[in-house]
């Protein structure tokens, strides 16, 4: 008990990754390893701004995100996500991680 911390249950579902530089990347998790390196499919970045709504930048293709650069991996609840009004969401971008 308590040891199953892996990302296995998230494979093939939509996840939202917060990187150490404060970016938010949404994509489908295709694979991962023990260093939290991730393989992401169909990614886009959500760029937050306090002046305009959230801008979605399509990154497309398959990306590998290096584990060192990852802060949080969140499982996206599609139902809630579709209900969000991103164009009306105003927020400053997240601060970068400072070790």
């Amino acid at each position: 008990m308590g040891t199953n911390v892996g990302l296995a249950p998230m494979v093939d579902s939509t996840i939202s990754v917060i990187t150490n530089d404060g970016r938010v990347i949404v994509g489908i998790l295709r694979g991962y390893d023990q260093a939290t390196n991730l393989i992401l499919d169909e990614c886009h970045e959500r760029v937050y701004s306090s002046k305009t709504g959230v801008e979605q930048v399509v990154l497309g293709g398959l990306h590998i995100v290096r584990g060192d650069n990852i802060a949080v991996v969140g499982e996206v609840d599609d139902e809630i996500d579709q209900g969000l009004n991103l164009s009306a969401t105003r927020a400053a971008p997240l601060s970068p991680v400072q070790h």
Partner: protein
């Protein structure tokens, strides 16, 4: 290994994890691993007005390397026990 074992005893409890990017996430501790990566269920972000970036996230994985603090439920720390255990560990 000591704190790994200790965090395992907290599984199921409500904790707040403060990250090194000042984000604070509250949720039920689901699991922890050897790197002190933490998985939380039913999360919400403290100060959601300022940080709406995780609004559609209910369950999340937090990389151990970005954790600044873990706020524990009061009464869940047996200070004496942890004290003794850390001393024993330090002695080797």
């Amino acid at each position: 290994m000591l704190f790994y074992s200790y965090f395992k005893t907290l599984v199921g409890k409500q904790v707040t994890v403060e990250l090194k990017n000042d984000l604070a996430i509250t949720g039920t501790l689901h699991s922890v691993d050897q790197y002190l990566n933490i998985k939380l269920n039913n999360v919400h972000v403290v100060n959601e007005q300022k940080y709406p970036h995780m609004m559609s996230v209910r369950n999340c994985f937090i990389r151990g390397s970005v954790v600044r603090y873990v706020q524990l439920p009061p009464g869940s720390v047996d200070v004496e026990l942890l004290h003794d255990a850390t001393r024993r560990e330090a002695r080797g």
